[in-house]
Amino acid sequence: MNKVRYNFFLFVISLALLSVLIKAYNVAVIKHTYYSKLYINNITKTIYKKGKRGCIYSEKNKNLAIDYPSYDLFVDPKYYLENKKNNGEDYTKSVERFIDKISTAVNIKPEYIKKVIEDNKSSRFVLIKRDIPPNVFQNISESFMPRSFGFIKKYKRYYPDGEYSAHNIGFCFKNGVGAEGLERYYEQYLKPEIIKGDVPLDLYRYRFAPIPKNGDDLYISINKDIQDYVHIKLKEAVEKHDADGGMVVVLNPYDGSVVAMDSYPFYDNNQYRKYDYTSIKNRAVANVFEPGSVFKLITLSAALDSSAFKENEIIYCEGGSWKLKNKTIHDVHKFGWLGFRDVFINSSNIGSAKIALSMGKKLFYQYLSKFGFGKKTGIDTISESKGIVKDIFSIGDVDLATMAFGQGISVTAIQLAKSYAVIANGGYAVRPHFLEYIKDKNGVVYKYKIDKKRILKKESVAEIKGILEDVITKGTGKRAYIEGYTTAGKTGTAQIPKKGTYDTKEYIASFAGFAPVEHPSLVVVVSIINPKKGGFYGGVVAAPVFADIMKFSLHYYAVKKDK
């Protein structure tokens, strides 16, 4: 063997191996970051995954708003045509069968699908049909499905209760963002989180999308059965009296939870686009109106609680008409001297005005503030109004006198319900609310904290309750009488002011009350706007609705009869 050649050979071999090592070092160590970037670019893909919006449940865990899966069918025309060319007769036949099947299932013509494919030959994605329901989807996808067709899964909002609780629940825009009611107010909890993930291919070339985070579920205090009943009764009353609108609030007086709330005109939140905003508006919280005599409760409470008046005092009611400066105040019935209780039982405007005037505006406003008029109640829904209370420095005696019987002050139905709840629960102002708790998949994440504050003395509350009970047994609210239960309440009939005068014959008929008197279960406020037929007094129009709703609810909760 040639020693020189042999050594030369070994030298060449060593040199070659060394060059490999240098190259390896260059690639793996020096250019490591460069290649790592390419590596990540090739193997990972950023995926966004959106989950389901949270559901809304009623008091007895019944669904009021759900997200259900819905599917969009698409086709990849380019892939379809390529496959058709490359595959045999059998394949083409089975694809045709599939097209026939989907066209019958989703009710489109097979020619339409073929035309779509022919029209978009080079396209990779064409939607054929939107919003295919899950059962149809299952039917189609269970059998043979060519790879050129596919479904996109998404979620759609549905409200099983429809127009029955539409004003409370609200609805979502098409993009899934809450637009009205609780859907909007609790948007930040209900909305599903969009999870972003850089997902690498796994060993088997699969890519698992990140697990989406669903929105939190809302559990609210609305009782679906009572809500439905309220809805039916309100509709009946509005139709019977040919009214323009109406509001009903059913409130649990102890914790302020809204058991039912409805307003007329109605709308169906599953088809919200068919309605304009006057129907969509939740009038129970958004409408402000002059309450009329139901507001005398505030005058009464202020007078008794501040000890400005005693129950046994008497007031002269001027025989039905009293001129105060440039304003004449009328009573429906003519009264002479009336006892303090009778002023309210018979709903005398003049009597109430005199009581307020002798208290003075400072004291009266103190109680307005305690009851929360001119302020939002803080109920957890959108578009709440705070009502209209004139500034204390700009009012004179006339303003104070009219305010005492509910004129010249504007309130919302929920504010009235809150005030009657104060009497019902023994003197506490509670914040009305829908929410009970919010749950995510691990359990309760937020529980509503009851906001409760004493504003009236216990003794004065007992006296007021007695007077309100007499309104029904002896006074204007006889039609609110409920068999077997003691009931307390107050009627109200207010003229709707137009252009600053009360000349029109338009009224708001209201009734607010609670039952049973000793331990009230519920507060119900009913207001019917502009009844044109069959009377306009609160005692005639609103009181029977109150009685129906109250009776149903008391029976529903199996409240023990106390009479």
Partner: protein, 362 residues
């Protein structure tokens, strides 16, 4: 008889064994996706590779026990059998995979070109040990040129240009070191290059690879992906079986491009280790060769060393984009039954040669 004292055998056998183990791990790590897609069993290649490795070790033991001089006596028989195998490729027994017919199935499926490589080494060693006197005459080299030429043609026409080229340069290197004149070697080299050129020219895919590499400087997809896999591994790699990139993006990642998988899983240190082990194996073989006083053993062991080192270099050069990609496997590491068993036999023959050393320097 056994009087030689040296470390060559440990430096040969232990690295060989470690390389075999690394190969098994990497075949498993790199083939899971492909195995799952095609055989619905991600360990399909692993079980086979374990089986082949066992046979390879058996071949090592068998050939280390047998006296290598026995091979010298059956050279015509070996040449004839392996030539028949090569011819069978062109009959019905030939098995075609991805456009190249490199395997035959007669009861079992194997790759005749791998066997031909070893048989040619034995034949050349026998030839050189007998015909030393005619070294400087062209007439003297004619028989070996014809035999190698026939083998070369059959392999090159499969087409397996990589293996044919490997056999060619191994053969020429052995002649060069053995002392044949450069003029004679180049007289053999040119016709072979022309044959290879024609084969490449008639296969557009192969031509394109050459053009891409030398002229348009375009990097081959497989090579590019393998560089990304190695580059992402860094110094320490992703860990055993943790790199999925090779699985998905590198075709043949368990075969020709197994080094890319090693780079991804074990990083630069893995590649360094593999090359170091290889150097131990090859240089132990050269050391044994230089100590051998029997001309047949000397040339045979040297030829084995040359063939293994050329094969490894061609593979590494392909993977690292230093040479146009060639379908050449990495010895001891790549998946493949015939090659592993033949390489086991080579180590066994070298061991047998070592056992015959008498302690005196040649």
């Amino acid at each position: 008889m056994k009087t030689h004292q040296g470390y060559e055998l440990s430096f040969l056998i232990i690295p060989y064994f470690i390389l075999l183990v690394i190969g098994i791990v990497e075949v498993w790590s790199s083939s899971r996706y492909f195995a799952y897609i095609h055989f619905h069993n991600s360990n399909f290649f692993l079980t086979r590779e374990l089986f082949y490795a066992a046979f390879s070790l058996f071949a090592t033991m068998l050939f280390s026990v047998i006296d290598y001089k026995l091979l010298k006596k059956i050279v015509p028989f070996l040449v004839l059998v392996s030539l028949i195998f090569l011819v069978l490729i062109y009959t019905k027994a030939g098995v075609s995979i991805r456009g190249a017919t490199r395997w035959i199935r007669i009861g079992i499926q194997f790759e005749p070109s791998q066997i031909a490589g070893l048989v040619l080494l034995i034949y050349i060693a026998d030839f050189i040990s007998r015909k030393e006197v005619y070294m400087h005459r062209m007439k003297g080299i004619a028989p070996v040129a014809v035999v190698v030429g026939v083998f070369f043609l059959f392999i090159a026409l499969e087409p397996d240009v990589g293996t044919a080229f490997l056999i060619l340069i191994t053969f020429l290197t052995i002649m060069y070191i053995s002392g044949y004149s450069v003029k004679m070697i180049s007289q053999l080299l040119f016709p072979s290059i022309v044959v290879l050129g024609l084969i490449i020219y008639t296969h557009p895919g192969k031509l394109e690879r050459l053009v891409d590499f030398f002229i348009s400087k375009k990097i081959n997809f497989q090579v590019e992906q393998s560089l990304i896999a190695i580059g992402s591994g860094g110094v320490f790699g992703h860990g055993i079986g943790a790199g999925n990139y090779k699985n998905i993006f590198i075709p043949d990642s368990y075969n020709d491009f197994i080094v890319a998988g090693i780079g991804e899983d074990f990083g630069f240190l893995g590649i360094l280790l593999v090359i170091t082990l290889f150097v131990f194996v090859v240089f132990s073989i050269f050391s044994i060769s230089s100590k051998c006083r029997d001309m047949f053993g000397k040339v045979l062991s040297f030829g084995i060393g040359v063939m293994l080192s050329y094969q490894a270099l061609m593979n590494l050069f392909s993977v690292f984009n230093l040479m146009p990609p060639k379908g050449i496997t990495m010895p001891f590491l790549s998946y493949g039954g015939t090659s592993l068993i033949i390489q086991g036999a080579m180590i066994g023959i070298v061991t047998s040669i070592y056992r015959s050393l008498d302690g005196k320097e040649a």
